[in-house]
Amino acid sequence: MDLRFTEEEIAFRDEARRFFREDVPEAIRRKVLEGRHLAKDEIVRSQRILNARGWAAPHWPREWGGQGWTPVQTYLFQDEMQQAGVPAPLPFNVSMVGPVIAEFGSEAQKRRFLPRAANLDDWWCQGFSEPGAGSDLASLRTKAVLDGEHWVIDGQKTWTTLAQHADWIFCLCRTDPSVKKQEGISFILVDMRTPGITVRPIQTIDGGREVNEVFFDNVRVPRENLVGEVNRGWDYAKFLLGNERTGIARVGTSKARLRRIRELAGLELRGGRPLIEDRRFREKLAAVEIELKALEMTQLRVVADERGRARGKPNPASSILKLKGSQLQQATTELLLDVVGPHAMPLAAQDEGAGRNEPGIGPEYAAVAAPTYFNWRKISIYGGSNEIQRNIVAKAILGF
């Protein structure tokens, strides 16, 4: 038993750290670290830098550019990326549709989509959630009917993140309404420019516009855009969701956020002294840091356990990472509110929520505090809410 990283692991970590900090533009990384929104071209630019190095989709099969890393390397890569403020390669491309196509797609689909997904030549979005379904994802109602050489899709998706930027959407559609709900679903790739698709932005309470509704009205999609077999879409979706293991806790992101909080707490004064010198604040900060250190160790234990596991088979421990990771990410946003105090109140200039075009007041870093707090409430809701995660763990430990 040796709890330290090997020399090779440390060398890899240092290489990743150097690359992220030297090759990814400082301006992009600062925006991430400061909690500001990135423009589309910044995300694209960052991913292409990674892809040029072969690091946009390192976990893909080797023939499609994967790196064949150990779980520890993957962990170190993600942790360094998050700590450096490098935007993660678009998850819809590299963690979701990519692995599904690589595993279940036709050779033609692989050739057509995978290289473009890795390089963000195609921007993908996810067509899973529907208004009526919520946590009961399999109850989806968007239907696809085969009409000659085309699927005809009708229905509505929601919470579609960054659909406004997307070139393609991967959809779960009901293709057989007569069987058990999980058994009549297919996985279909749809060009966003197809007639009949309408994207309607949903403004979120932080003033942002990162999610959308996507409406399908008699949308005709070539038959060959079906992935794998018809009515097997639910299996592919489970495979997709089961691939998210490490990284899900976003320990690196929380570390970077806490570092930022320490920095800002050195700038904000209370009673004439920097807040970072205040005992109560330091204790609150330390309490979060302790939980985060514990989560980091938990994550390393899960990583070490990865070696023996099959791909696409979720480890119940990943539910713990999601659960605790979301709570800690949210805790950091509350600390940030504490730091900025009254200056959390005014809306920032960049924010579109006010319906006015005014510059903000107060320090710019203070203006992101409340919107981040509001926005990050989503972390315990999306990707399987914390209640769903608890159900999963309960089943694993109790068997009910």
Partner: protein, 373 residues
Amino acid sequence: MDFDLSGDQRLLKESVDRLIADRYGFEARRGFMAEPEGWSRANWARFAEQGLLGLPFSEEAGGFGGGAVEIALVMEAFGRGLVVEPYLSTVLLAGRLLEEAGEAALVGRIAAGELLAAVAHVERHSGWNLGDVATRAAPDGDGWRLSGTKSVVLHGDSAEQLLVTARTADAQRDRDGIGVFLVAADAPGVARRGAATQDGQRAAEIHFAKTPARQVAFAGDALATLERVRDQVIAALCAEAVGVMAKMHAITVDYLKTRKQFGRAIGEFQVLQHRAVDMYVALEQARSMALYATLMAGEADARARAAAISAAKVQIGRSGRHIGQEAVQLHGGIAMTMEYKLGHYFKRMTMIEEMFGNADEHLERVATAESIL
């Protein structure tokens, strides 16, 4: 002991509740926020008509002599409606401070709906501490000239008169040497910039460069009066918070009853039931402490008053955060959208948690005082 409302109080409550129910629907409120000042002059006139703008002032000052209970009734209703008009800033803060200074004429104009005023006290590094003042007042003939910058001045952008804290003497964080100065918003050397706040209200940053000002007079020292008025405002804010929390709880319960998943109302899931119950307990505890703050807002002993008000603010802060976060979580994604009402309550609650000091800061005040039990 008697928790029943008097006849007059019941009438007041009914009329304010009706006003909110009739005029403050979700869509209507969106309209008010889109008006040039970010709130509705028509509503303001209605408030004046119904006597709300003069409510807290003595009858000599043109008011209606309402006490903490009456203010709490109004504020709880305003919380349910998420009212965006400058009631707290103009009436409860500036108006009450002017009343304490014996400025009956100005108070009368506020009561009549003819004057908007704001209190400028927050600075870049003051936090919510009224005694941490860097803005300076220099004597200038009969009057004074102010220099400094105030931030997060609630509704400071539409106010016509500003009440500004500034030092005439002593060091930045001394209790002595603080005065309150009346400044016309269009006086020379005033530069202000308004912004919406996170909860759809308004605030301003205001610079003073040798701005001519008149000092207002208090019987005791200014800071003690400021703190008393601030404590009364916190009591009012606690009542507003109860309105906000009660709505969040009601909206959530309603959602749990009607939203179906996995073939049944999600409120049938025991886990969600118990969490709704814990929200309810937090709400009732907050309601109790808002009542306590109402009772203690007029307490003569400043230290007992401050401890009680701070205790209430702690409870409101803790309950508010718990209820807000749980309300969002139990809803799921829908609560994150601007189109759905819940998130707007959540945002207002978050700002109330922060306003005039968060729960931690007030806990410290309670901890250093005598026991409240």
